[in-house]
Amino acid sequence: MTLAIRATGIRKVFGDVVANRNASLEVRTGEIHAVVGENGAGKSTLMRMIAGMYAPDAGTLEVGGRTVTGWSTREAIAAGVGMVHQHFMLVPTLTVAENLVLGQEPVRGVQFDRAGAEEAVRALGERTGLRVDPSRLVSDLSVGELQRVEILKVLFRGARILVLDEPTAVLSPPEVQDLWRVLRTLVADGGTVVVITHKLDEVVEISQSITVMRAGETVGHMQTAEATPSSIARMMVGREVKLALEETGEGRQEMVDGGWQMADARGGSATAHSALRLTQLTVASARRADEVAGVSIELRPGEIFGIAGVEGNGQTELIEAIAGLRPVSSGSIHLGSHDITRWSVRQRADAGLSHIPEDRHRRGLVLDYSIADDLILGVQHGFTRGIVLDKERIISNAGERIAQFDVRPGAPDAPARSLSGGNQQKVVIARELRGREFSVLLAVQPTRGVDVGAIEFIHQQLRAARDAGKAVLLVSADLVEVLALSDRVAVMYGGKLVVTLPADKASAEVLGPWMTGAGGTSGH
C-alpha cells in the first residue's frame, strides 16, 4: 500500500499560538481521507503545510514517498498537490475559463486563445463530472458552482492529491451529494482526496479513513468502517458529547438572573400575544430589490422558529432588517406591541431585541477590543457614570459573564482577537443572552466555526432561553442544527419562506428539495 501523504512530528507556531505540535497524518493513495477536529485543532494549518503555504517548524513531510518538508506552493502544484480553500479565491469579473487558465493562459500568437481555454475547461469538466459553462462570468455563479470551479481550477493544474477545507459549509444537501459523486469519481480515477470537516455524518458517509486532531495534535487514526459519529466526537473533544441529532427538547434549565437590568423593560409587556411579528416584509439588497420578498412570521414567546436554507437566499437581509441594520422597503415589524419598523438599532435592542449576528468577526465583536469591552458592545450606555465609562462595573460584568460561560482564557483585558472561534462566540452569546434584558433573540449561524464542545453548550443556552419564555428566531445553514433545535421550521428560498412545518413533520428529506427551489406541492 503506497502512501500519498505522510507527515510526522509536525510542529508549527504562530506568534503566541502553537497551531500544530506533534501532528501526524498518513493518507493512502486512492482513498478519501477525512481530517476532523474541533475548530482551532490545527487541521487547516497542517493542510496548508502540505500544500506548501507554510513551512513546518519541526517534523517531516513526505508526498509519494519523497521528503518535501518546507516546499513551496509552486513545488506542491508541480508535484500534483492542490488545495481547495474554505474561502473562494476567484476573480468575479472573469469567466470560468479565464479564472482557470489564469497564470498559464493559452495563446495564439500574441492573443489570448479564449476558444482553446474554454475547450480545455469543458473537456476537463466532462471527464470529472464537474460541469460548469466555461464562458459564464464567475460573478453570476451560485455558491455550489463556485466550488465546482475551485475544484476544477486545482485539477486543471494537474492535481492528483486534492485537499478540501470544509467544502460543504455553504452547500445545500443535493449539492453535497453532487460533490461526493465528484470526489468518488476522482478517487476511482486514481486520485487521492483529503477532506477537512467537522460534520461527523459527512465523515462517516464519504471517507475510508479518519485522522482526528485535538489542540494541534493528532490524537487518533481509524478506519471509517469501525467508527460512529459519537466515537469520533469523543475522540475529538476528549470526553463524552451529546450530539445535536441525539438531543431532545427536554431538560429545562432555569435562567440565572444577572447582569445589567434594563431601566426601561418595555419588552416585558410584549409577551401577551406574539413576541415578534413580521408582516409582508420586503427588503432590498445591493443586488436586487426583493432580496427578502414579502416574508410574514409570527413568533410566539417560548418557541424556537428555525429558518433553514442555502445561504444567500435573503436570510442575511431579513435578519439585518429586523435588527435595524438595513432599511425595510415595505411591510412592518412589530416587537410585542411596538411597531419598530422605523426604530434605530439601539431603540430596538433596548426594547428587548437581542441578536447573535451571522459574522462575529465583522459585526459581533470589535476584535481589537478587550473581552470586557466587547461584553458591553450594544449596552455600553448602561455602563456609564455621566459620560465616563464605569470601569469597575465593566470589569465585574466581564468576570461574571466569563465565569458563567467558561470563556477561556478568561482574562477580561485580553483582546477578543486572541480567542479561539468558539470562545469568541461564547463572548457574543454571553452578552446577548445574559448581558441584557430581551424578549426576542435573533440567532444567526450561532455555531458556525465553533467546536463540538461549544456547540453543545450553545444549543443548551438557546433551549434555556426558549424555556424561559423568550422567542428565538434561528437562522442556520446547518439543517441538522435547525431540525434539532426548532419548534417550527421554515425554508427560505429566493427571498421567501417557501415552506413552514412543525418540527415533528420536518426532516432533511422533506426540506432538502425546498432548499434547492425544487419543493413539492406539500407544505405551506
Binding site: G15, R214, P357, V366, V388
Partner: protein, 361 residues
C-alpha cells in the same frame, strides 16, 4: 481551548516596559544612521552637526523656547489627525482648519474692546479658534456622514478653499496697508513664557502650550475613558460592529470631525494670540500637513503625539542651527526619513518582536 496560548514571555533581555517603545526607537535609529550618511556626503562630521543641532535647540534658552513654540502647534494638529484616525478618518484638512482657527481668534480679538480682561478675552478668543477649526471641518464631516464622501478628498479641497477665502478676507476686509496680515488684536493676547521665566527668554514660546497639553490630556481621556470614546474607537476599528452595537457611525464621524477641527483650530492660538497678535497669511504653512507625520510617529496616542511633536519641532528648529555646516533643507530630508522609517520599520519591528516571543515559547 483548542489551540494553546504560549505563556506571555518577553523576548530575552528586553524589559516589558521597553517593548512598545522599541519600534519607534528603531525607526529613529535608522533615520539617524541615514542622516549620518547624508551629512558625510556634504563632507561634514555627523557628530559636529548633531552637536550643533542639540545645542541650538535644547542647549539654550532661545532654542528651547522655539522648540516648545513650534511643538505647540504640532501637538494641536497632531492630535487632530490622531483623533480622526482613531475614528477611521484621515483628516488631511488640519492645515486649513488651523488657518481658520487662527483667523477666527484674530477676528474676535479685534472685535473685543481694548481693555477686556484677559480672563474673559482669552477664553473667548480660544473658543473662537476652536469654533473656526470646527467650521472648517464641518463641511467634510457632513459630506462624509450624510453622503459617504471621502474625507480625504474633501479635506484636501477644503484646504485650498479656506486658504483662498482667508486671502480674500485679509486682502479686502481686515487689511493693514503694505502687509499680508490683519490689524493687531485689542484683547486676548496670551502671555509669553519668557515673561515668567528667563529660561525661555527671547523666544516665541507662550502659555498656549498649556492649552495644547491640556488638549492632549483631554483627548486621551475622551478616547479611552468616555462612552463617546468607546463608540468612536469602535467606529474606527470596525464600523460594522459599531453599527451592530447601536452606534450611529455617521454621527460619530461628524462629531469626531468637528472635534478634530477644533483641536487643529486651537493651534492657531499659538501664533495669533501667543506670538504676533495678528493673523498673517501663511502662518500655518506646513504645520497641518506635518501633523499627519506627528500622529503617525506618535502612534495616534495623545502621549505619543506630544513626544513626536517635540521631536519634529526640534528638527525644525535645529535646521536653523546647523545651517552653517549643511543646507537647512538637509533637516527636511531628515524629517522625511524619520517618517519613512516609522512607516516601514514600525510594523516590521512589531512583527519581529512577535516572532521572538513565539520562539521563546
Amino acid at each position: 481551548m483548542a489551540t494553546d496560548r504560549a505563556p506571555a514571555v518577553s523576548p530575552p533581555g528586553i524589559p516589558r516596559w521597553l517593548q512598545p517603545l522599541l519600534p519607534p526607537l528603531t525607526a529613529l535609529l535608522i533615520a539617524a544612521v541615514v542622516g549620518d550618511l547624508l551629512i558625510l556626503t556634504f563632507g561634514q562630521s555627523p557628530r559636529e552637526v548633531f552637536r550643533l543641532l542639540i545645542e541650538g535647540t535644547w542647549g539654550n534658552a532661545y532654542g528651547l523656547g522655539q522648540v516648545l513654540y513650534k511643538a505647540t502647534t504640532l501637538i494641536c494638529t497632531g492630535l487632530a489627525v490622531a483623533l480622526g484616525i482613531r475614528a477611521g478618518m484621515f483628516n488631511i484638512g488640519a492645515e486649513g482648519q488651523l488657518a481658520l482657527g487662527g483667523f477666527a481668534a484674530a477676528a474676535i480679538g479685534l472685535l473685543l474692546p481694548a481693555g477686556t480682561p484677559a480672563l474673559v478675552a482669552i477664553p473667548v478668543c480660544v473658543a473662537a479658534a476652536c469654533a473656526g477649526g470646527s467650521a472648517g471641518a464641518a463641511v467634510p464631516g457632513v459630506l462624509k456622514a450624510r453622503f459617504g464622501a471621502s474625507e480625504v478628498i474633501v479635506t484636501i479641497m477644503m484646504n485650498f478653499i479656506i486658504a483662498a477665502l482667508l486671502n480674500w478676507a485679509v486682502a479686502t476686509q481686515l487689511n493693514v496697508a503694505e502687509s499680508l496680515h490683519t490689524p493687531e488684536i485689542h484683547a486676548g493676547a496670551v502671555p509669553r513664557l519668557a515673561a515668567v521665566s528667563a529660561l525661555f527668554s527671547g523666544s516665541a514660546a507662550n502659555f498656549t502650550i498649556l492649552f495644547a497639553l491640556g488638549a492632549a490630556v483631554f483627548t486621551g481621556w475622551w478616547l479611552f475613558r468616555t462612552r463617546a470614546g468607546y463608540e468612536l474607537r469602535a467606529a474606527g476599528l470596525q464600523p460594522d460592529a459599531a453599527e451592530y452595537g447601536g452606534i450611529r457611525v455617521g454621527s460619530v464621524w461628524l462629531r469626531t470631525m468637528l472635534l478634530s477641527g477644533a483641536l487643529a483650530g486651537l493651534g492657531g492660538v499659538n501664533y495669533v494670540l501667543g506670538y504676533k497678535q495678528y493673523y498673517e497669511e501663511g502662518f500655518a504653512a506646513g504645520a497641518g500637513y506635518l501633523g499627519i507625520a506627528v500622529a503617525l510617529v506618535g502612534r495616534n496616542h495623545p502621549a505619543g503625539v506630544v513626544i513626536s511633536a517635540l521631536l519634529f519641532a526640534t528638527l525644525s528648529q535645529g535646521a536653523l542651527a546647523v545651517n552653517a555646516l549643511v543646507p537647512k533643507q538637509m533637516v527636511d530630508v531628515l524629517t522625511a526619513i524619520v517618517i519613512i522609517a516609522v512607516a516601514t520599520a514600525v510594523p516590521e519591528v512589531e512583527r519581529l518582536l512577535r516572532a521572538v516571543r513565539g520562539k521563546t515559547a
